[in-house]
Every structure is written in structure tokens, then in C-alpha cells.
Symmetry: C2
Subunit: 219 residues, 2 copies
């Protein structure tokens, strides 16, 4: 279902180890520089192969990038499916918490892929950019939307709240939390970047508590 972008057969004939090495170094370069500034010369230099070889594997820079992004969306999709299955029985607020923690895990495992995505958000002239962003964001909406409806159905979320406002807030907050974890200058004073897992989970819990109970004094 992912793997919609296929490289040249030459690439597929390579040993898995070499393929992984190429993907790893290419992802690193795109994560460092973004699409436009990423240099195929730099990639082949790091890999110790000739530039011509890269063109045996992929038609051009764009095809290479699309292939990498395809791998990324596959990983995202898998992660979300896992967490959805794992947390199906849980309370709505626990589900949100687990999703946030899965996001942290994903960034820990694939920081360069996440960097590529972040750069893509505001870079210009990246081929199929809006389409790629939309693909990822659709995952997020497809996850939070049903979650909220289910939470409302089960009486864990107020019936009178507009679903799209709730998903917007959850999406925005979680997104920013993950961005702050990956990029310290976006952590909004929570100093997320250096924290260990336990502290991160405490912050997540605190945020969800505030969203659940509201800012206004009760009574």
C-alpha cells in the first residue's frame, strides 16, 4: 500500500544492505539541507559511489526524493496502525497520550525522516509538495477524527463540542509538542529536547489534563 514509488530495477537488484545504506545517507542529506539544497554530489561522495551510479538507481533528484518520502509515509502509517490497535480499548485521554508517546518514539527512531517532513512544510518548489504534505496530514486527521467521535460517543468528550475544533486543538498541540521535541527552539519553554522519557510523559499527561479539564476554575 505504500511503496507506490518504484525506483529503477537496478536499485531493486542491489543487496538490501547497500539499498539501506543509500537510503540512509540520502535521507540524511535531504534532512540536513532540504530538497532544493540537498546535493547529489554530496550524497554520492558520502556513499563513495559515482554520480552516474545514482542515476542508474533513480531517474533524477525528484524520483529519489519521492522514493524516500514514500518510505517515510509507510513508516508513519505503520506506526499509527500499531498505536490504534494497541490503544483501542483505552480511555479517550489515554488514547491521545499513547498517540503522543508514539510520536516521540517515531522521532527517536527516524529523526532524519521527521526532519525531511518538517523542512517540507515551508520549503518552496519541492515537487509534489502539497500532495506529500496532504498525505501525511490525512493520516493525522484520519486518526484523530474517529478517535474524537468515539470519545464523544462513549461520553468521555462533551457532546456539544464541534468535532473539527477539538481535532484542530489536539492536532495543533501534539504537532507542536513533537516539533518542540525535535527542535529545541520550538519547545515553547518546556525544554523538551533534553528530557528523558519519563519527564516527557509527565509533560504529555499535564497537557492532556489541561485540555480535558479546561482553563476555567470549576464550579
Amino acid at each position: 500500500m505504500s511503496e507506490m514509488v518504484i525506483p529503477k530495477s537496478t536499485f531493486l537488484n542491489l543487496s538490501e544492505e547497500k539499498r539501506r545504506r543509500i537510503v540512509r545517507e540520502a535521507v540524511r542529506e535531504f534532512a540536513d539541507k532540504g530538497f532544493q539544497k540537498a546535493s547529489l554530489n554530496a550524497i554520492v561522495a558520502r556513499l563513495g559511489i559515482a554520480k552516474g551510479s545514482l542515476y542508474q538507481y533513480f531517474d533524477n533528484k525528484e524520483a529519489l526524493f519521492l522514493y524516500l518520502f514514500d518510505q517515510f509515509t509507510g513508516l508513519v502509517k505503520g506506526t499509527l496502525a500499531e498505536v490504534a490497535a494497541f490503544s483501542r480499548q483505552a480511555n479517550f485521554y489515554a488514547q491521545i497520550r499513547l498517540a503522543a508517546e508514539a510520536g516521540i518514539t517515531f522521532i527517536d527512531r527516524h529523526p532524519d525522516f521527521y526532519d525531511i517532513y518538517l523542512k517540507l512544510l515551508f520549503e518552496q518548489d519541492v515537487p509534489h509538495r502539497e500532495e506529500l504534505i496532504a498525505k501525511v496530514r490525512l493520516f493525522s486527521r484520519d486518526y484523530f477524527g474517529p478517535l474524537c467521535e468515539e470519545g464523544r460517543r462513549r461520553g468521555q468528550v462533551r457532546q456539544d463540542l464541534p468535532i473539527e475544533i477539538v481535532t484542530f486543538i489536539l492536532d495543533a498541540t501534539l504537532d507542536r509538542f513533537l516539533q518542540g521535541y525535535a527542535k529545541s527552539y520550538l519547545d515553547g519553554g518546556l525544554a523538551l529536547a533534553g528530557k528523558d522519557r519519563r519527564e516527557l510523559e509527565e509533560k504529555i499527561a499535564a497537557i492532556i489534563d489541561v485540555l480535558r479539564d479546561g482553563l476555567l476554575p470549576r464550579g
Copy 2:
């Protein structure tokens, strides 16, 4: 207090109209392409001046960019000071609402400046990038922090909530709202980009209501 970055005297000697024209076109170019891809050739071509002239005004690409960003931070600072003064007496939630509306107004007035900032967030190798981002984000924190403390003091925000969590949520949500207004693919399904002022204010009010009252059914 802004205007810390000074161009060459040649630039300051130009007529205000010419200066504004140069700033306008340069901002447009940097907003379109980001720092790295922005082309001085393109800027001088649009302005109809020689490249050498640009180098009479600014030492190099970096100095030009820093000057533009300085203008930007001046505008942000002024806007925040205005809204702070204007909303001083208001209820906490009205203050938040007014800040969000001021953000909308700012983007309407200076969309290219806002674009430069958004691109800066994830672009690599921009001179003084983290410093510039920190400067803008400090404005935001300096605004929301005291606001939350004041709101708590006045009993409009629960006493037991950790301030930094509250500011994080407000900052993240407002930020994402403005990003969604400027970039339709980030609007999280609220379709903010096309909306008129009244509809935007309704969305803002709805979001603040949810944050104020919480997701959990009361009772």
C-alpha cells in the same frame, strides 16, 4: 529599539520611496524562495537596478536579509505592544481572542514577512537563524506568560495549573491557527484560508471556548 541592523549609508540616503520599493521586492523574493534560494539577481532584475547597486546598499546577501528581518521584528513588536495596551482591561479569554485577531491582521498586512518567518523555522544554514527565531518566539512568550499569570491572579484561570503548560497550549494553538490561515494545507480541516473576518473570529471564539471549558463533560 529595533533598527539594530544598519545598512550602508548609501541606502539610507535614498529616497524613502526607493527604499520601500527595495524592501518590498527583496522581502517578496525571500518570502518566495527562502534565504538560500533567494536570488540577488532576481531582486535586482525586478527592481530594474544593477547588481552592483545592491552591494552599494548592503554588504552582502546576509546583511540584506538581517535588515529585512529587523524590520519584521519591529513590526511584530509594535503589533504586540498595541494589542497589549488595547486589551489590558479585558477578560483573560478576550485578551487571547484579541491577540489571535491581531495575528490575523498582521498576516493580512504583511504576508511576505510572515512567510519569511515560516520558512526560517525549518531552513538550514541561514545566518543567525536560531537567534532570529528566538527573538520572535521571545515576543510570544513575553506576551502570553504575563497574560496567564494575570489571568490566574484575577481568578479567570485555575490556580493549580502550571503556567508553562498553559502558555504552551495557547502558543501552539494560536501559532497553528495563524499558520493554517497563511498556508491552507496546515489548517487542519478548518478551511481557514478562504474565510472572511467574521468566520475567522467565530473559529477563534470556538477554539478558546473549548480551551476554557475543557473537553470533559462537566458535572
